[in-house]
């Protein structure tokens, strides 16, 4: 942790949170999600334009001279907390974070295809996704193949960023075949993507291309922690609310100590998750040399907390937690799929072991 590491929320961030929360409450309530998740297009119509364009959330990471708002990972993290809370289907993590950060590594001072594309992404007019399996960790080489499965939000993409043996390419979605798969998490669609060989524009080659992809994935993993935090927080709040109201044995079930202790324990974990997610967002925002370690710590911790929170939410709701009508399963499916997204906890722990010189036995 560097001296300047700031783990609190600024007033601007609180305002941004309020704006995003109000938008999501108004347009993407759980009922509307439940109504859409089984269709081919789970994204709420017009919501992306409002969030990305009107609020400008897609351009938070992009400097003003490249067409963005010139904010930072701290603000983007707050948007993700809210998207996690509401389990909103939107290509924010994939386009506004991973693809955007990948392009930022290549955009230089402006000009060139990467910078042009970045400006489009920042405005929210164009959605781009990196063609790698959702599970790819920041320290992992993405698979180079004509067809890649498990690509998140590819169905919403206008442009595909495709790592190939000789560099990173931008391929218009119209030139590719995108075959939807059936995801565990119905709010983050997955697809099989095949792109024609030789198509698209080369954005970078060799080490520059690899470094750009790594930077995109690192930012994605770091900010995914904030999505997991928001999700865990919602699960805890809903569980507390429900168990205070639900009566059995002539008492609110939330007055039984076995349940109280489980919820209190979860609160402790959420407190830790908030500190870890903030540390990761801050390390990314300040370009700290500590970022790879802090991101790995946040991922290793927050992914577990989110899954536990969602599992507790289902369990402590009893039968109603098992029903399709109740939103608990949206959170559970998102949390479980987030656990594997951008590297499993175990992979991130291996990264920590390497960075901190805590080697495995020979």
């Amino acid at each position: 942790m560097t001296e300047q590491s700031d783990l609190l929320y600024s007033e601007t961030e609180d305002d941004l949170r309020a704006t995003v929360r109000a938008l999501l409450a108004d347009r993407a309530g759980h009922q509307s999600l439940l109504d859409r998740i089984e269709t081919d297009d789970p994204y709420v119509p017009g919501l992306w334009t409002s969030l990305a364009g009107d609020i400008g959330a897609a351009g938070l990471l992009v400097p003003e001279k490249l067409g963005g708002l010139g904010a930072s990972h701290r603000e983007a993290a707050v948007v993700l907390e809210e998207l996690g809370r509401a389990v909103t289907p939107l290509p924010y993590l994939t386009s506004a974070v991973v693809a955007t950060e990948t392009l930022l590594a290549l955009a230089g001072e402006g000009g060139g295809p990467a910078a042009e594309l970045l400006a489009e992404l920042a405005s929210g007019r164009t959605v781009a996704v990196l063609v790698v399996p959702l599970s790819t960790a920041p320290d992992q080489e993405p698979p180079i193949a004509p067809e890649v499965a498990g690509v998140a939000d590819a169905v919403a993409a206008d442009v595909l960023l495709v790592p190939r043996a000789d560099g990173l390419y931008a391929v218009p979605a119209g030139e590719a075949t995108v075959g939807p798969q059936t995801p565990l998490d119905l709010t983050r669609p997955l697809a099989r993507v095949s792109t024609p060989p030789g198509g698209g524009i080369r954005l970078a080659e060799g080490d520059a291309a690899r470094a750009a992809v790594r930077r995109g994935l690192l930012a994605g993993a770091g900010l995914l922690a904030s999505e997991q935090l928001g999700l865990a927080e919602w699960c805890l709040e809903e569980t507390v609310r429900h168990t205070r109201e639900r009566h059995q044995f002539n008492r609110p079930v939330g007055s039984f100590q076995a349940l109280k202790h489980r919820m209190a324990q979860l609160w402790l974990d959420v407190v830790g998750a908030r500190a870890a997610a903030r540390a990761a967002a801050d390390a990314l925002a300040t370009g700290s040399p500590d970022a790879p370690l802090t991101v790995a710590v946040a991922q290793a911790y927050c992914s577990k907390v989110a899954v536990r929170a969602a599992e507790e939410c289902v369990q402590l709701h009893g039968g109603i937690g098992m029903t399709w009508e109740h939103p608990a399963h949206l959170a559970l499916k998102r949390a479980k799929s987030d656990q594997s997204a951008l590297g499993s906890a175990g992979r991130h722990q291996d990264a920590i072991a390497a960075l901190m010189d805590l080697p495995a036995p020979r």
Partner: protein, 393 residues
């Protein structure tokens, strides 16, 4: 209002007038107290300057850089963390100016006479009696688990003054002189082999009325000040990465490749992550305090540290294999310092068991989080409006 610049120059003035290298340790600490640089948020004349609490860090950094002596907070933790804030909030002017200076300087050690054989988590059930006799109170009863009673000059004490009132309403809070002939301290050996805490027998102990803190019968409210400060006292200091118990375990791991197994590796990394997150949580709490928005994270810290310290030291004993089966020494001692990270892994493992009991058990703290932070319904109670003397014990 005192700002950082002013505090820095006051600290430099103190250092110039009392160079640590040539000044007697106690004299230096007294001068620091008198300069208002002991705890800057305390009132002027009582070791402080009425400055924002966060600015203490400025003073501490200057003093540390100059190699100035400290007042050994590990030895006088109860005085600093619990007695002082209570004396400040409830003591008369005479009481405050009599006790705070020697307390802070470390000339007088304090202990806490709260727990009794029949009253621990349910502290308000205590039975030690205080009966008025002229200008004095006369105390009879038994206290237990009293840390540092063997080196303490003074004690904070709660005792029952009205057995006919419900248990929370008949308690009064006192400052007790540990040299009174009616005070008998007997060592209580603990699982580490040493005797950090004691049994304390109180027989006809006389306490002047002037040493009563708060109103007669209002001791439970006064005790809340003490207990709150006890639970929130962590989180002030910044610790570096691997600064706590995890550092010991990581060092052993690095230096002893022959001990490594895959299963232990996974558990080591789990705990390493937890320890790092606990560090961030502490840092966040500190930043909240500085920003003047203290959160309820204080209770999270105590609970988290107890769990972590126990898991880390437990893993260390396991990692050490045959060596972990040995113990430094079982010799019965009465230590002056509480040392959580000291000595060997076996000692650390055993001592850390106290972390989830002392200062409120983890179970009781979880109740507090559930009810006060999350707003879950309270436990049903059958002791609230019953006179203390009619309760089953």
């Amino acid at each position: 209002m005192t700002d950082a610049e002013e505090l820095r120059s006051l600290t430099r003035k103190l250092l110039a007038e009392h160079p640590p290298a040539t000044t007697d340790r106690t004299d230096f600490l007294k001068a620091r107290f008198d300069a208002g640089l002991a705890w800057v948020h305390y009132p002027v004349g009582l070791g402080g300057l009425d400055a924002p609490r966060a600015l203490q860090a400025v003073v501490d950094a200057e003093l540390a850089a100059a190699g100035a002596p400290d007042n050994d907070p590990r030895r006088i933790g109860i005085g600093l963390g619990m007695a002082a804030p209570t004396l400040l909030a409830y003591g008369s002017d005479e009481v405050k100016s009599r006790f705070l200076r020697p307390l802070w300087v470390g000339e007088e050690v304090w202990c806490q006479l709260f727990s009794e054989p029949g009253a621990g988590s349910d502290l308000a059930a205590l039975g030690t009696r205080a009966v008025r006799d002229g200008e004095d109170w006369v105390i009879d009863g038994q206290k237990v688990w009293t840390s540092s009673a063997h080196i303490a000059r003074w004690a904070i004490l709660i005792a029952r003054t009205d057995p006919d009132a419900p248990k929370h309403r008949g308690i009064t809070y006192f400052v007790c002189d540990m040299t009174d002939p009616g005070v008998e301290v007997r060592p209580l050996r603990q699982i580490t082999g040493e005797a950090e805490f004691n049994e304390v027998f109180l027989t006809g102990v006389r306490i002047p009325d002037a040493h009563c803190l708060g109103e007669v019968g209002d001791g439970w409210r006064v005790a809340q000040t003490t207990l709150m400060n006890e639970r929130v006292s962590i989180g002030g200091a910044r610790i570096p990465r691997e600064g706590g118990m995890i550092g010991k375990l990581a060092t052993t791991w690095r230096e002893r490749p022959e001990l490594r197994t895959h299963e232990l590796h996974r558990r080591l990394l789990d705990l390493w992550v937890d320890a790092e997150v606990a560090r961030f949580t502490g840092e966040r709490l500190r930043q909240q305090l500085v920003a003047g928005q203290p959160g309820p994270e204080g209770s999270a810290m105590k609970l988290g540290f107890a769990r972590l310290n126990q898991a880390i030291s437990g893993l260390e004993v396991e990692l050490l294999g045959d060596e972990g089966l040995l113990y430094g020494e079982w010799e019965m001692r009465r230590p002056e310092l509480v040392d959580f990270t000291g000595r060997d892994a076996g000692y650390r493992y055993l001592r850390s068991k106290g972390n989830s009991i002392e200062g409120g058990t983890s179970e009781v703290l979880l109740n507090i989080v559930a009810e006060r932070v999350l707003g879950l319904p309270p436990e049903p109670r059958n002791d609230k409006d019953v006179a203390w003397k009619d309760l089953t014990r």
